[in-house]
Each structure stands twice: as C-alpha cells, then as structure tokens.
C-alpha cells in the first residue's frame, strides 16, 4: 500500500514538474506579452495542483495534509487574481493585443 502511494505521488510530482518546465519553455518561446501569460498559467494551475497533490500523498492523513490543501486553495485563488491584475494593468496602460475583438469566434472578419 505504501509502495502504491509512493509510486502515485512520484507520478504526480513528475507530471507537475513536467508542466512547470513546459510553462517555463513556453514563457521563453511565446512571441509577446499576452501569449507568454498563457504559458505561465501552465505553471500556475496544472503545475501547482499536481505537485501539491503529490506532496499531500507523501504527508498522509495528518494536520500538514490539511495545511497543504489550504495552500493549494489559496494558490488557486490568488494566482488568477494576480494574473488578472497584470493583464488588466497592461491593457489599461495601452498595450493592445494584436488580435481584433471578435464577438463571433469562427468569423474571420475583424470588426
């Protein structure tokens, strides 16, 4: 049983590490500010969820598990808030995303 938990937790930790790594690669490869943010959100959400779940499996049923779960919840609440602050500040200070605003997703003609 302990072995199964260990294997599962290592799988989660490795997958989380993979997402963090590809988030970093994406932040370097993407061409501009707004697209870089998408890559960073890989690290923010998938990376932090998988890594913290992996650590929780290592901690077992104890108080640290509850604290780790709380850390996960707070990360998932504050991460997108910080991202919004960053994106909104960029938008309001006049950095326009290249793509035109479209209401219809499929349509190609910019308004």
């Amino acid at each position: 049983m302990a072995l199964v938990l260990d294997i599962l937790s290592w799988l989660l930790l490795s997958a989380g590490g993979f997402f963090v790594l590809s988030g970093g690669i994406g932040a370097l490869r993407m061409p501009n500010f707004y697209t870089r943010m998408h890559a960073a959100s890989l690290t923010d959400s998938a990376g932090s969820i998988l890594i913290l779940l992996g650590i929780i499996l290592q901690a077992g049923w104890s108080l640290p598990t509850i604290k780790l779960a709380a850390i996960l919840v707070f990360l998932l609440l504050t991460g997108p808030t910080a991202t919004y602050a960053l994106a909104n500040a960029a938008l309001l200070s006049g950095m326009r995303p290249e793509a035109a605003v479209r209401n219809n997703v499929a349509g190609d003609a910019p308004e």
């Binding site: 993979f18 997402f19 590809s22 988030g23 690669i25 994406g26 490869r29 993407m30 061409p31 707004y34 697209t35 943010m37 998408h38 890559a39 959100s41 890989l42 923010d44 959400s45 998938a46 969820i49 108080l63 509850i66 604290k67 709380a70 998932l76 609440l77 991460g79 997108p80 808030t81 991202t83 919004y84 994106a87 909104n88 938008l91 995303p97 290249e98 793509a99 035109a100 605003v101 479209r102 209401n103 997703v105 499929a106």
Partner: protein, 160 residues
C-alpha cells in the same frame, strides 16, 4: 440584518475551524488567543463592511462539484497548451473574445473570470459591468470558452 448575522456566525465558525487546523497545539492559553483572534477578525470584517453586501459564503456547499468540473477543464486545457508550447512550429492564433457574464453578482463574476484565467489557454483581461474580455491562445480555446458550460455553471453556483 438577519442575513448579515447568519454570515457573521458562519464566518466565525470557519475561522475557528481553520485556526484549530492551523495550530495543532491545544493548550488553554493558545485556545484563548485563538478565540480572541477569531473574534477580532470577524469584528474587522464587520468594520470594513464585509457583511453589508452579499458575502458569497453561501456558495461554499456547492463548491466541490464546481471544482471537480474546473479540475477537469484545467487538465484538458493544460495538455492542449503543453502540446502547443512543445510543438516545433508553435501553432498559436491568439484572439480576444468578448463574453457576457451569466452570473449576476460580483462574487459570481469574479469566480467566473478567475476560473477562465485558471484554465490555461484563456486569460481574462478585463471585467467591467458584467462584460468579460478574454484573451485566447487558439480558436479552439475560444470555442470551448463560448460554447462550454463554464458561464452557466458559475451562474448556477452563485444564484439562489
């Protein structure tokens, strides 16, 4: 008035539970200090007007189902974005989509826009008067945003 008293009691209960879990040391002195800090926190929340508006505490029991859907969404779109990032040609086609938020209150709209930002491939740029401006990495992420159930689920989470 009744509603604000109820949410004050609920907030106190949540703070007490959180304090008991954080501390792990249950000596009389620390228990008193914990009770004092819980009461102080509720008083400060009252002073900054937390109970004047709808607090959003009523969504708590419905959150697990919403989170389950959100985790599935994050997993799916993480794999999509990962594939794009590691693709040799980097096949992105970013676009900005306007979306009318289905949730009426500010709490539901914030939950919706945070959920959109959490899912990789979509970032909320602006939320104003219930109109969301969302930056999407690919047409398919824009498609799943506008036709997916996220907007409706966020509205169901917070209404009633």
């Amino acid at each position: 008035m009744r509603r604000s008293v109820r949410s004050a009691l609920l907030l106190t209960l949540l703070l007490v539970i959180a304090w008991l879990f954080w501390s792990g040391i249950y000596k009389p002195l620390l228990l008193w200090l914990g009770a004092l800090s819980c009461v102080l926190s509720v008083y400060l929340a009252y002073r900054v007007g937390f109970f004047d508006r709808p607090t959003g505490l009523h969504v708590l029991p419905r959150l697990p189902r919403y989170w389950l859907w959100l985790v599935g969404e994050i997993g799916r779109s993480s794999i999509d974005v990962c594939r794009i990032v590691l693709h040799p040609r980097l096949p992105i086609d970013p676009r900005v989509v306007e979306l009318r938020a289905a949730p009426q209150g500010p709490v539901g709209q914030v939950i919706l826009s945070n959920a959109i930002t959490l899912a990789p491939g979509t970032v909320t740029l602006d939320l104003h008067d219930g109109n969301l401006l969302v930056h999407c990495l690919t047409p398919s992420s824009a498609q799943s945003l506008t036709s997916g159930p996220g907007n409706r689920l966020s509205a169901e989470l917070t209404t009633g």
